[in-house]
Symmetry: C2
Subunit: 257 residues, 2 copies
């Protein structure tokens, strides 16, 4: 594979799995950086701000500054800024509120309703309030629309079903700002400071990471860690540009020593 | 219009509006019955059992026995019986549980998940339990899939958004057993005991009542009460067979004195 100018690394399932770093990940990232490649991290994580994710990466031996981390809440804040929307109703994890410093809470007449991950915070009254705000003219914005995720006691509803409920109720379609949306990858490419045609996205999700990257005009490498299942790469068109066992193989793939 | 053999009357918006009977409705129903037409009532009401609806009709001056009333919960019970499903998870208003005498609650491995109107009872944990039951193999059944309804303090989410949420999460499509589904109208026609081609459905909802009836092979009369808005009849194909000011006009429409 041609040596890229920059690499966008997914986090959960790619850099770490649950609380453990993927073996060889810190060394591989350090090697890419030493060889002059720009490195940034992109995640649909909706419960942690970039600051906390940076601390987590540092604790795993992968130093990263918040500006090198692109998250769905940060992408939402960038989208709101670009649309000139300041008065919002945020239905996001409390820890991520710090990603919206330019926004003012306005329950009466928000310009946008931003849906994140509230888990047990999704009650009828909360959903009904968001519904009425959308009927009142607010844009419907979703951090992501995953169906479910794996929790300690089994599969659990992710944000997607609640996005679907509000779309159905209000007869509208949400703007998704997380992966695999094009605006998300634009923001991540901007964080790298490298032209899009020299960027490679690396992740374990063949749809969200690999197919999303290809659709956004970037190259894609699928890793066989995290949620990867044998044969995943054959399920999407266009296919990923490469498949490797883990991020530890990236320096070799890119010809970096 | 040809004199029908039986008439299926919608309730809310057709026979009564909020707590008030539509003027002339009791006399019109009595006249149809005296002329030998079979009369039954069909409603998507999800909060009251047929017994309570019968009492309500009687209080408004329209005697009706439970066997002449077809509701979405009763249609769900009939559907479960036809499918041979007895072990179920019922997410329906408590007052309607009496409509499911053949069913046994089984949270661990239900054959069907039945979604009704829980309103504030829809919490994350309740939705997540239903989601896991569907993943475990339960059929997903919905009493209705209305988007919203008008409450004292504004528009509020109806059952539909929660149906949409679970469909999206589980990647499946719910079987809707209320109006305008064909099984619902079949059940209502059976309650009348009149051949389908001699049945007329009367209601205020141009889609759920009128279009639904036409799609089920029945004739349809739209009434200009309840949710009717000027021009509704022109928004569907095929159009209703007739439009009248209210149910009070039915005897004249059918040539019944």
């Amino acid at each position: 594979m041609d040596r890229p100018g920059g690499v966008l690394l997914d986090l959960d399932g790619t850099i770490y799995e649950a609380d453990r770093v993927v073996p060889g990940a810190p060394e591989a990232v350090a090697r890419l950086r030493r060889a002059g490649l720009a490195v940034a991290f992109c995640t649909n994580a909706t419960r942690m701000p970039r600051r906390a994710l940076g601390e987590r990466l540092a604790a795993l031996g992968i130093p990263a500054v918040p500006g090198e981390i692109v998250t769905a809440p940060a992408a939402a804040a960038a989208w709101l800024r670009a649309e000139g929307i300041r008065r919002v109703a945020l239905y996001v994890a409390e820890a991520t509120l710090e990603e919206f410093p330019d926004c003012t809470a306005d329950a009466a007449a928000p310009g946008a309703v931003v849906l994140g991950d509230l888990a047990a915070g999704w009650t009828f009254d909360v959903l009904n309030r968001a519904f009425r705000q959308v009927l009142g003219g607010a844009r419907l914005v979703a951090l992501q629309r995953n169906r479910y995720w794996k929790t300690a006691d089994g599969l659990s509803l992710d944000a997607g079903p609640f996005v679907a409920a509000l779309e159905y109720a209000a007869g509208t379609t949400a703007t998704v700002v997380g992966k695999p949306s094009a605006p998300f990858f634009s923001l991540a490419v901007a964080a790298l400071g490298v032209p899009a045609d020299r960027v490679v996205v690396v992740g374990d999700d063949v749809t969200t990471d690999a197919l999303g990257a290809r659709a956004a005009g970037l190259r894609a490498v699928l890793v066989r860690t995290g949620k990867y299942r044998v044969g995943d790469e054959a399920t999407v068109t266009p296919a990923p540009d490469a498949v490797v066992d883990s991020v530890a193989r990236l320096p070799a793939l890119f010809g970096v020593e």
